[in-house]
């Protein structure tokens, strides 16, 4: 979540669910919280019962809208325009929380002279490289307070890396996400103008940047009345400030856009201006959709990250540990200790084999040099570049956009291991995939060897999930898994054990990492299940005495400490599994610090130093949370202070201070290099220091702001299996959005297979307005076919007034189609797969796909069957001027003959 990471320093929700009940106004935008997080929604309802205003901003009228005070039906993909309008409203009417903004944000920082805003380049920032479709971020930098050399340990190395930062291979590799816990590194602290009047101060840059976002413009772009906008603005601003707070809630309604990270940035700017970050009832709450999706980025199985948001070493920049740590060495903020964290990680992985002499085994780590993300890998599979694939509790042929492309990828593997509870579609694609019917694949042509390895459920294994507010909760095993079912811990441990046995006599350097790594966990029971508790201890780390560390502050770079994920250090503090704590909530205050354990260091609300004024006193009695206790000489309050406990509010860093010592007593954003919340992000995002409204990649509307239609940095993966619908095409005239329903879970393996859930939403359907139904002759509860340049699918039609056409200022009407994506051919509740309709276009910051907006056509009746389906879709492509989508066997090379016929270009 670079959106939050670049703004505040950590890529996690700033507040926690229960804290929503302290809000005076809650804006739910880009989230259908009542449907997707019903139990978390109780805290919204609690706030409502206490008199808070609930605003739901969403293209669709959902179950969340039904209980909100106000529903704002903006056009899909226009959130930046709406939020930008609010920012302008706040700035123009002097409604920002001035004391907060001056003290805790980079509003006073000066931006370098080279920076040119989108205003002057018709939608592009300075530094755009049109050939590679990338930015060089150098011109976005602050005007430094001191020359940069003075604060880096290794100026030459840092400068060299700075240059390499611009290489496409480095940019593609998604270093930005390393801002997950620690803001992006900046060369030095900026020059400041505390009056905010300097024309190059961030504050003035911001004002100019958002000057265009007038209520009229918002109204036109979002398709809502100015009065609606004004109502939201009034509620939000009158419920922010010293006495009151507004909370913002989002989920994948924001992230799954080509400019998703910038959506979050826009909200971050607004919430920062309003002084709502780090304060009770405020914040930005990111709602995650899976039990441990936060955990899966904290302890990542992601190509670009090591545990704790340490970046994966890059071939061009990080050939040694010193190089790896060069950018952080000497920096202010907690990233200044990067070397401590990395060495501890290497000690955790390689144990005694990691020694100072061998760079603690740094060289054993594989290096990345480009985009190795999931979709790129699928394209590589189709080209036959990947031999084997593990799917561990994931069903990409249903849950990922462009199911057909995903199936082609799987069909070109040598082998595939699927670990799941049910026989999912990604395991049966060779047998039942829709491409069998169209003739594009057949078992005779698919050489993929498939192993289905049954998995254990959540009650059949010990372990921790990290939920949406960074809280780790331990699950105790209740029963043994049946038959061959095993935990994933079992599978990977024993796979590693077997591999190590096979190679135990190898002297090949490439095998040394495997052989030297620590791999000796206690085993339990007949199945010899590894001890998850021991793994958690390793993640927590140990000190020189072999005892668990209680804080990452104890980590050293001399090899005397270990720790598998530095941000999780403390989860085993005092030798106790803190994640397993279950002191009843009724016996604790609202913060309930003794239930589970939250990173970092059990702090439930991040940046909570900001709940007090620069002098350390609460901004107001009503919103007091953490404050400075002068008598005790420490920070105190209802939560663990997200600040050094004894650092005085009036502390000023001495010259030459580094890491946390370089942050002042009124720098609440402790992971940022300057200790401030970033209204302007001089680094950390690849698509601009400020959010800008672009239309989605597939849009039926022209960008009213600038000549640049869509984000200039969108990442595309081109091939006959991933054609893009042209913008503003008459052939694909309707906007489509995908989403979940309460009754189902993601790709459906955990819900379509269960009778009680299946019967509640038994069929795939799409939601359309009565107007669109009339326009296209669609019949309620009958079939319709949706077509894109990728494929055509059929669905039952639910005609509902909850979906509304948007009328633009020029009289054009934008029709929107809603499409839940849970279905496929397997399970009890079945239907075509919504994701087969979607293409893959990615946010360059995150490589997350734009699921939430695409275009399509819709016609009454069922779709053609068999090969006719291919011809049907191909005809659409021809009409839209899109290149042919015909493919050869298993999706490989396009068939030359029909390409000639199909592609006129």
């Amino acid at each position: 979540m670079p959106g939050l990471g670049a703004s505040f320093g950590r890529g996690g929700a700033t507040n926690f669910l229960e804290d929503l009940s302290n809000a005076d106004c809650i804006v739910i935008e880009g989230s259908n919280m009542a449907e997707c997080h019903p139990v978390g929604f109780q805290w919204v309802m609690e706030a409502k019962a206490r008199g808070a205003k609930i605003i739901h901003i969403d293209p669709r009228f959902t179950r969340t809208s039904a209980v909100a005070d106000l529903h704002v039906p903006l056009r899909i993909g226009t959130d930046i325009a709406f939020l930008g309008g609010l920012i302008r409203y706040v700035l123009d009417n002097d409604l920002y929380f001035r004391d907060y903004v001056v003290a805790y944000t980079n509003a006073a920082a000066l931006v370098g002279e080279d920076f040119v805003d989108v205003e002057d380049l018709d939608g592009l920032f300075s530094g755009y490289d049109a050939e590679n479709r990338m930015y060089d971020e150098d011109s976005w930098a602050y005007e430094p307070a001191n020359p940069p050399e003075s604060s880096a340990d290794d100026p030459a190395e840092a400068a060299e890396q700075e240059q390499l930062d611009d290489a496409p291979a480095v940019r593609e590799s998604d270093q930005a996400q390393a801002a997950g816990s620690g803001g992006p590194p900046i060369p030095s602290k900026p020059k400041r103008d505390e009056t905010l009047q300097h024309p190059r101060s961030v504050f003035q840059v911001l004002k100019r940047h958002f000057a265009r976002y007038t209520p009229e413009m918002v109204s036109e772009v979002c398709g809502i009345e100015p009065a609606v906008f004004e109502q939201v603005a009034k509620w939000v601003t009158s419920n922010s400030g010293r006495e009151r707070t507004t909370a913002w809630v989002y989920s994948v309604g924001w992230t799954q856009h080509s400019v998703g990270a910038q959506y979050i940035r826009t909200a971050s700017i607004l919430q920062t201006l309003l002084g709502n970050i780090g304060r009770p009832g405020g914040g930005i709450l990111a709602l995650r959709g899976h039990a441990s999706i936060q955990g899966s980025t904290d302890v990542p199985t992601l190509f670009n990250l090591l545990p704790g948001y340490l970046p994966m070493p890059h071939a061009m920049q990080h050939s040694t540990l010193d190089e790896y740590c060069a950018d952080a060495a000497g920096k202010a903020g907690f990233w200044g200790n990067k070397r401590d964290y990395m060495v501890s990680l290497l000690k955790a992985w390689f144990g005694d084999a990691a020694q100072p002499e061998n760079d603690f085994g740094f060289d054993w780590l594989p290096k990345i040099n480009g985009d190795h993300s999931s979709y790129r890998t699928i394209a590589d599979m189709i080209e036959g570049k990947v031999s084997g694939y593990f799917l561990v509790g994931e069903n990409p042929t249903v849950g990922h956009p462009n199911g057909r492309m995903n199936r082609f990828g799987l069909a070109n593997l040598d082998w595939l291991v699927v670990r799941d509870l049910q026989m999912i579609e990604s395991a049966t694609f060779w047998k039942e995939g829709p491409e069998l019917e169209t003739g594009e694949m057949s078992p005779d042509t698919i050489g993929t060897e498939v192993f289905f390895m049954p998995a254990a459920t959540h009650v059949e294994k010990d372990g921790t999930f990290t939920q949406t507010q960074r809280l780790l909760q331990w699950r105790h095993k209740a029963v043994e898994p049946p038959n061959d079912a095993r935990s994933d811990l079992w599978f990977f441990f024993h796979l590693g054990r077997i591999l190590r046995e096979r190679l135990k006599d190898s002297t090949d350097p490439r095998d040394q990492a495997l052989l030297r790594m620590t791999w000796d966990y206690p085993l339990h029971g007949e199945t010899r299940d590894p001890d998850a508790d021991a793994v958690l201890r390793e993640i927590n780390g140990t000190g020189p005495d072999g005892q668990p560390l209680s804080s990452y502050m104890q980590m050293k770079d001399d090899g005397s400490t270990s720790g598998g994920c530095w941000i999780y250090t403390g989860v085993y503090a005092d030798g106790v599994n803190q994640a397993a704590r279950r002191k009843p909530g009724s016996e604790q205050g609202t913060v309930a610090s003794e239930w589970g354990w939250a990173w970092p260091l059990n702090r439930r609300m991040l940046y909570n130093r900001a709940s007090a004024d620069p002098d350390g006193k609460p901004w107001s009695e009503r919103k007091k949370y953490v404050w400075w206790d002068e008598a005790a000489g420490e920070w105190t309050g209802v939560d663990v202070p997200d600040f050094e406990k004894n650092k005085r509010p009036d502390y000023v860093p001495p010259e030459g201070a580094r890491a946390q010592d370089a942050l002042a007593g009124d720098d609440p954003f402790v992971m940022q290099g300057d200790g401030k919340a970033w209204l302007y992000a001089p680094a950390g995002l690849v698509d601009g220091p400020l959010p800008t409204h672009y239309e989605p990649v597939e849009s039926v509307v022209e960008n009213a702001f600038y000549g640049t239609q869509a984000s200039p940095t969108v990442e595309r993966i081109d091939g006959p299996w991933n054609r893009e619908n042209p913008s503003r095409s008459e052939v694909f005239p309707f906007q489509v959005t995908t989403y979940r329903l309460t009754e189902h879970h993601t790709a459906g393996a955990m819900s379509r297979t269960l009778p009680y859930l299946s019967e509640l939403q038994p069929e795939f359907f799409v939601e359309v307005s009565p107007e669109l139904a009339a326009l296209r002759g669609l019949t309620h509860n009958d079939y319709a076919t949706l077509v894109s340049a990728r494929s055509a699918i059929e669905a039952k039609v639910l005609v509902t007034e909850r979906v509304r056409p948007i009328k633009l200022r020029d009289g054009r009407v934008v029709h929107q189609i809603g499409m839940p994506y849970h279905w496929s051919y397997g399970g009890l509740s079945t239907g075509d797969s919504a994701n087969d309709l979607l293409g893959i276009a990615l946010d360059a910051n995150t490589h997350i796909q734009e699921d939430k907006v695409s275009t399509a056509d819709i016609v009454p009746g069922r779709r053609p069957r068999g090969p006719e389906l291919l011809e049907f879709v191909e005809a659409y492509r021809r009409r839209a001027g899109v290149a042919s989508g015909r493919v050869g066997v298993n999706g490989r090379d396009p068939v030359e003959a029909s390409a000639g016929e199909g592609s006129t270009q």
Binding site: F41, S65, P73, A227, R622, L741, S758, L760, T830
Partner: protein, 355 residues
């Protein structure tokens, strides 16, 4: 031994102790629990906070191990109903909780001088008593609508009419057996399979029911139904088994927003009255309690509701009356009819010439 005549309003015709109809202060005592018994328990379902998640439906089925609806696990038998997000359809033998989804729109032909919409009965008409006084002006409070305010959008895409104000709302309500004070199902059951528990609830005893089906049309709410493959009837038990273990019913336990509240009935009634007053104070004129009134046709319900529209909008009868209220009169008519037959037969015989 109690004499039958005094204890049997069914035949006696008069009902001085309200055993067939009207308020009954202690339903359990009426059913023989004369010694100490638990307080009468019930459900208060506040539909104004229902988010339609259907957790109640699933938690109920899970606890009571009910079969899937209709299809018995055959996937082809499942289908979308087209009734908004309601694919359960109605209460039945396999669905003891049913969440209704009602989508409503209406057009208000009024100009928009303010954000408030005059004439809208869902419009807030004053500062909410819950609203803290600081920082919110009276005008702001007046601008708040209590339910959603889709209405703020002036443009009606249908007519293109400006000034026409289309409002939408989506009502959701979890229906359940009402556990009536005077329960038709219980009273017509000829086997004693249906009985009243010590908690004042009405429960079917599966070891007794012989599937006569009489309770099915006797329920004025259409709650109880027969399971076709089993032959017996089933309905909500208010988790009688859980109650005996001191637990709440499964649905109330699960309900994320406390739309379903379980507890002692008198306590729930007080809570509901307060909630209604709050909503009325916020200008929700259409809010009303349903099944709360002990003077209604079933003597008040053990499971009652706060609704935001007329009961029939949710599929509930507006003024249900327990059928057995009239059973004395029916027996009287039947006796007269029987006497008439004897009279006619006797006179026919006597009046006929013998051969």
């Amino acid at each position: 031994m109690t004499s039958i005549s005094s204890a049997s309003p069914g035949l006696a015709g008069n009902d001085p102790s309200n055993r067939l109809f009207g308020p009954l202060p202690d339903v359990s005592a009426d059913a023989g629990y004369v010694e100490e018994h638990p307080a009468r328990v019930g459900f208060f379902t506040d539909t104004s906070v229902c988010i339609g998640c259907k957790a109640c439906e699933v938690a109920c089925k899970e606890w009571n191990t009910l079969p899937m609806d209709d299809s018995h696990g055959v996937r082809d038998a499942m289908g979308m109903s087209g009734m908004s997000y309601d694919n359960t359809g109605m209460l039945g033998a396999n669905s003891w909780r049913h969440v209704a989804f009602v989508e409503q729109t209406r057009t208000v032909d009024l100009p928009m001088p303010t954000f408030g919409r005059p004439g809208d009965d869902r419009q807030g008409s004053g500062p909410s008593p819950m609203t803290p006084g600081d920082g919110v002006s009276l005008a702001d409070a007046q601008q708040s609508s209590v339910l959603n305010a889709e209405a703020l959008s002036e443009f009606d895409p249908q007519t293109g009419q400006s000034g026409a104000d289309k409002q939408i709302r989506w009502l959701m309500s979890s229906d359940v057996c009402k556990h009536c004070t005077h329960a038709g199902c219980l009273d017509v059951c000829p086997t004693g399979a249906l009985f009243r528990t010590e908690f004042g609830t009405v429960v079917v005893q599966g070891d007794i029911c012989n599937g006569c089906g009489y309770c099915v049309p006797a329920c004025p709410y259409g709650v109880i139904d027969q399971r076709k493959d089993d032959g017996r009837v089933f309905k909500c038990t208010m988790c009688y088994d859980r109650l005996t273990d001191g637990l709440q019913p499964a649905c109330a336990t699960a309900c994320p927003t406390q739309s379903i509240q379980f507890g002692d009935l008198d306590e729930l009634q007080a809570r509901a009255d307060a909630r209604l007053a709050t909503l009325k104070g916020q200008g929700v004129e259409t809010a009303r309690l349903y099944g709360r009134d002990e003077n209604d046709g079933v003597g008040g319900a053990g499971a009652f509701f706060l609704l935001l529209d007329e009961p029939e909008v949710y599929g509930l009868p507006p003024d249900p009356v327990v059928t057995t209220r009239d059973v004395p009169a029916m027996w009287k008519a039947a006796a007269q009819g029987a006497a008439l037959i004897i009279g006619v037969a006797v006179s026919a015989v006597l009046g006929s010439r013998k051969r």
